[in-house]
């Protein structure tokens, strides 16, 4: 039995809460509700090795006026950095988020979720994003709305975490 903490990091409105909701409850809402502070969810997973309780820390998105509260990143076992494919600026922030995560807890597995894949996207280069850090497992294009690759991403992340811990 494993229990660990995963933190979702990203700019405001990139769909962190929606990804969590899709993953945990398998639901989606078009309404945008800005997260304040932190919202915590729990998901039971299992793979060949072990049963896992994943505690998902969906923290308040970064805005120009408010940086990410670093304390919430401490003690995590993995990070998911979320960007919005319809807003180029959120893709540009990925680098900064990676840096913040690595400062808080070095050498942790990081997943990059390029969200809102169901809407027409801006241009991006997944390979270049992958090169930003050696800790990045994979760059996923996700859609919390349709549910595309959401479960896949979390499952892959869980496998990596378990593999590294055992």
């Amino acid at each position: 039995m494993f229990a660990y903490k995963v933190v979702l990091v990203g700019d405001f409105g990139t769909g962190k809460s929606s990804l969590v909701r899709r993953f945990v409850d398998n639901t989606f809402s078009e309404d945008y509700i800005s997260s304040i502070g932190v919202s915590i969810s729990r998901k039971q997973l299992s793979n060949d090795v072990s049963d896992t309780t994943m505690m998902l820390w969906d923290i308040e998105g970064k805005t120009d006026f408010k940086p990410i509260f670093k304390q919430y990143l401490l003690g995590a076992k993995a990070f998911i950095i979320v960007a919005d494919l319809t807003r180029e600026k959120t893709l540009e922030s990925i680098k900064e988020h990676i840096q913040l995560c690595q400062e808080s807890v070095p050498d942790l597995p990081i997943c990059i979720a390029l969200n809102k894949a169901d809407i027409k996207s801006v241009n991006y280069n997944a390979n270049e994003l992958k090169k930003l850090s050696s800790n990045i497992i994979k760059v996923y294009t996700t859609s919390a709305k349709s549910g595309d690759t959401v479960n896949e991403m979390f499952a892959a992340l869980n496998n990596v975490v378990i593999e590294r811990t055992v």
């Binding site: 039995m1 494993f2 229990a3 660990y4 903490k5 502070g37 932190v38 915590i40 969810s41 729990r42 309780t53 505690m55 820390w57 509260f69 304390q71 919430y72 401490l74 003690g75 995590a76 076992k77 975490v161 811990t165 055992v166």
Partner: protein, 595 residues
């Protein structure tokens, strides 16, 4: 066409044409009048002006005619869309109340007072009722160790028992305990009271960790390093007790005593001291966590706390039986003591009585009933024995079972005398300074042998035997031998002072000297170690002897002549040497120089 028609056409041509057009228009209009869409389209723009106009002209009439409809409409709407209206009104109500309080505070207070007052008094009285019940419970269970201990504590602390009772009954209980990994917020273990199960402990732990991190971070920015200690909500509290890598979050209902805090701290201490490394190295793998042990430790906290609250109803017999048992034992011991004392007193009195000393009389005492036993030659002696012991206190009854043997007198006459002498010898020899023996010839001539310390002792012994009438004469062959003094006084190296530890020996010596003849001479023989020169040693030995002499004369008022000399080592007695610890000492001897 006839002429008339022609004429009519000529004269009324225009009119007929107009008539035809009019007719067409009327038909068109009447057709339109049956089309509601058209009418609505036409009238709609005018409606506002119509209402405005009529309200300006005659407002009362318009209100009269419209109001029943409007009210009906509102009623219907209210029933159908109650939820919607509630939602719409809710924020307004709060705002309205706030506004009202701002402007008309007193009125709001007055309006709410009957409701709130009742509510509060109901709550307070219920809480008091619970507390009173608890107190009553404690009072009813009056015969318990806790009550006795409370009474003692009240006396020691100098507070009233009621105060202690109140503090004991301040309703508090630990509802659940979480041991949380500090950084990850993962629950390492948790325990909860059966009556208050907690849903999703993991969520609570993570949220607590988030709150803790937030508060701690915020506080650290503003002030020195402090930790979040307590979160209060309603009548409950979450107490947070943190160590380096983990913390305990304890949910407590009611007031938290310092005892509870202490217990929480102790529990965390125990956990940290036994599992510090496991917690520190926690990597998410729950199988590394000693969950059973942690669970046990946390559960004791909950059960301990709750057990304390429950006053165990114990049957009074549980206390009464041991108390009765102890009382019985004490009574028996006391009775034994009393019986023994009586028996001892009685035996003493019987031995002390001159006439009875020689008979083997003894007493038995059972429950303060004294039984005299033994054999005497006459009834008078039997009675005498009884009379001797009548004054002894606490005796309920005396049973005289002494047997009178008539032939005793004649037959044991001789034994009687020997017994008497034996008894006297025995009594005299008790004194340290007297050690005598005797021989008795057939013609009743007593010869006293042995020795005493001084002349007056010899006289004294002789005098004692003179009282025995059965003796024809007494030969006093007792010799006077002063006692051998075994006293050895030690000194510190290079010191002539009498050490405190040695003083009691001198006092004993003084005591012995008071019992010997004043004419004797006391020799003080001093010895020294070989560490210094002969001269120094001589000086110090003399000083030691003189100090002893001074002590004996001044403090002991010793009357004997005292002579001081230095020890001649060549003459040292081996036996004495064996008993001597070291060479710095003084010994004593008594001599009869006057002889």
């Amino acid at each position: 066409m006839d002429e008339l028609d022609k004429l009519r056409n000529l004269l009324l041509h225009d009119e007929q044409k107009e008539l035809g057009e009019l007719k067409e228009k009327i038909e068109e209009l009447s057709a339109l009048a049956e089309e509601p869409d058209v009418i609505i389209k036409r009238i709609t723009p005018l409606l506002a002006s119509i209402i405005k106009n009529s309200s300006q002209k005659d407002e009362a009439v318009l209100l009269d005619s419209l109001s029943p409809v409007v009210f009906k409409l509102i009623d219907q709407n209210f029933v159908q869309s109650q939820d919607k209206i509630t939602k719409q009104l809710a924020p307004l109500i709060t705002q309205a109340i706030r506004e009202q309080i701002k402007s008309q505070k007193d009125e709001v207070v007055d309006a709410l007072y009957p409701v709130l007052g009742n509510m509060i008094s109901k709550y307070v009285s219920k809480t008091f009722e619970e507390m009173l019940n608890a107190i009553n419970n404690q009072i009813t269970n009056g015969l318990s160790f806790s009550v006795i201990s409370r009474k003692i504590r009240a006396k020691i602390k100098g507070v009233s028992e009621t105060e202690l009772l109140l503090s004991e009954n301040a309703i508090s209980s630990i509802r659940s305990v979480f041991l949380i990994h500090k950084e990850t917020g993962i629950v390492l273990s948790h325990a909860e009271h059966e009556d208050n199960p907690i849903n999703e402990p993991e969520m609570i732990a993570s949220m607590m960790t988030a709150i803790r991190s937030f508060v701690n971070d915020w506080v650290e920015k503003n002030e020195a390093h402090h930790e979040l200690g307590t979160i209060e909500y309603g009548g409950s509290k979450i107490i947070i007790e943190a160590s380096g890598y983990s913390y305990l979050a304890v949910i407590v209902d009611g007031s938290v005593s310092s005892k509870t805090n202490e217990k929480i701290r102790k529990t965390l201490e125990k956990i940290v001291s036994s599992h510090w490394d496991v917690i520190k190295n926690f990597n998410g793998d729950m199988s590394n966590i000693p969950s059973d042990d942690l669970q046990d430790k946390l559960s004791t906290l909950i059960h301990k706390e709750n057990n304390e609250k429950k006053t165990k109803k114990m049957h009074p017999l549980v206390f009464i039986i041991p108390i009765l048992f102890f009382s019985w034992i004490t009574w028996i011991l006391y009775n034994n003591y009393v019986d023994n004392t009586i028996s001892e007193n009685a035996n003493n009195l019987l031995y002390k009585s001159n006439k009875l000393t020689i008979y083997r009389l003894h007493t038995e005492v059972n429950n303060t009933v004294l039984t005299l036993k033994g054999e005497v030659p006459s009834l008078a002696l039997k009675k005498l024995a009884e009379e001797e012991i009548t004054d002894i206190k606490n005796v309920k009854e005396i049973k005289n079972e002494i047997i009178v043997i008539e032939e005793f007198k004649e037959k044991k006459e001789a034994t009687f005398l020997i017994n008497k002498i034996e008894y006297l010898i025995l009594a005299l020899n008790i004194n340290k300074n007297i050690d005598v023996s005797y021989t008795l010839s057939d013609n009743q001539i007593l010869t006293l042998n042995g020795n005493v310390w001084k002349f007056s002792d010899k006289e004294y012994v002789f005098k004692q035997f003179k009282n025995i009438k059965e003796l024809s004469s007494i030969k006093n062959e007792i010799t006077i031998i002063p006692p051998i003094l075994n006293t050895i006084i030690y000194f510190d190296s290079n010191s002539a002072d009498i050490m405190v530890g040695e003083e009691h020996k001198l006092i004993k010596l003084i005591n012995t000297l008071s019992k010997v003849d004043d004419k004797l001479t006391l020799r003080i023989i001093a010895s020294s170690d070989n560490s210094g020169s002969i001269e120094t040693n001589h000086k110090i030995t003399m000083k030691r002897s003189l100090n002893i002499k001074q002590y004996l004369k001044e403090k002991g008022h010793v009357l004997q002549k005292i002579e001081v000399e230095e020890k001649d080592k060549s003459l040292e007695n081996k036996e004495v040497k064996n008993t001597i610890k070291h060479d710095r000492y003084v010994i004593f001897s008594l001599e009869n120089r006057g002889k």
